[in-house]
């Protein structure tokens, strides 16, 4: 494949900008369609779930450290721990486990 990184960057930038700019310039009103609103509401949760699992297990040197980090991350997030503590703890879990694995 002979694709240019610069064109990739351009494609991403244009797509993202169009999503943000069209409602502010052309549409200028609320989306009232309930199905469309629900779809747009659900998308982040679904896409983040799809991207997190199983990729989180494959991101580390060992699948076990990734799995442990994921379990710890879910538990902490479940009890209401914030964004950064969850992220940092996940990293620490991987780091410590990989000293032994």
């Amino acid at each position: 494949m002979n694709r240019s990184v610069n064109i990739y960057i351009l494609v991403m930038a244009l797509t993202t900008y169009l999503i943000r700019v069209l409602p502010l310039t052309l549409i200028r009103r609320e989306i009232r369609n309930k199905t469309l609103r629900s779809f747009l509401y659900y998308v982040p949760y679904v896409t983040l779930s799809v991207m997190t699992f199983p990729a989180m297990l494959e991101a580390t040197n060992s699948i076990y450290s990734g799995a442990a980090a994921m379990i710890v991350g879910i538990l902490l997030a479940w009890i209401g721990v914030g964004l950064f503590p969850v992220a940092v703890t996940s990293c620490v879990v991987v780091f410590i486990l990989e000293l032994f694995l």
Binding site: I7, P23, R29, L40, V43, A59, G80, S90, E98
Partner: protein
């Protein structure tokens, strides 16, 4: 209340943007680690962040590009992972005064993120675009510099530290999806089904031939659409107030 001048709104935007910028610096650092794993150099990652300012969207883009996806696929994944900004921009368009000139609309649109949307919608009365410019002027550099540093440090740090940092972004993703999943049964089921399907599509022989980026696109559209049709999201409030409430302060970027 005395109407504030553009200058005052700009200063207020900077003030409210600083905590956001600091958060962005940390999040985008781990995004930089992901960009590095996808083969991006620091400047490329810097420009992606400067022109996108969207963590999930950028992360998805990086992984697809690393897998040699086509331009159309990259456009598609960017469209889907950033689709929520469409909703936010719609809300923001109500928040701007109807006679706001086109140039201000074009500029405000440049940096609609979960956090900037959150603070703009919370402003009392109509939104002065200069408030957004103030917030952007600190948030955007924070995001882009963090990404740059993430890639650069990823090249310097030892392999086991990079391995550990690689889960940071996923940890944040979890911190975004799990608390609402605890509150809403529908989201909980959606999260479980999404993860399960993501795994199954990677191991079932016929489905595993679909590239990972295409898999993310298809699963997101299909699962979200089915959920939207059969379990439409109930909103109690007016659209904009509801959207502001739903955007957690610690969010995606």
């Amino acid at each position: 209340m005395q109407p504030k001048s553009h200058k005052l709104w700009f200063a207020q935007g900077i003030r409210d943007g600083i905590p956001i910028a600091l958060g962005y610096l940390a999040v985008s650092f781990t995004l930089g680690i992901a960009a590095r794993n996808a083969g991006f150099n620091p400047w490329q990652a810097f420009f992606v962040s400067l022109t996108n300012n969207a963590s999930a969207g950028e992360y998805a883009g990086f992984t697809l590009i690393a897998a040699g996806a086509s331009y159309v696929q990259v456009a598609l994944i960017t469209l889907i992972t950033n689709a929520r900004y469409l909703l936010m921009s719609c809300s923001l368009s109500q928040k701007l005064s109807p006679d706001t000139p086109m140039i201000h609309r074009l500029l405000v649109a440049y940096d609609v993120t979960d956090e900037i949307f959150g603070i703009s919608i919370a402003v009392p009365g109509k939104l002065d675009p200069f408030y957004n410019y103030g917030a952007m002027s600190v948030a955007l550099p924070g995001w882009a510099v963090g990404t740059y540093l993430g890639v650069m440090m990823g090249n310097i740090l030892p392999a086991n530290v990079v391995s550990a940092l690689s889960v940071g972004l996923f940890g944040m993703f979890l911190a975004i999806i799990i608390p609402p999943a605890r509150k809403s049964r529908i989201i909980l089921v959606l999260v479980i089904i999404s993860m399960l399907m993501s795994y199954l599509c990677g191991v079932i022989p016929f489905l595993a031939r679909i590239s990972s980026g295409m898999r993310t696109i298809l699963l997101t559209v299909v699962i979200s659409l089915i959920a939207a049709i059969f379990f439409p999201h109930e909103e109690e409030d007016t659209a904009s107030a509801d959207a502001a409430k739903e955007v957690p302060h610690e969010s995606i970027g």
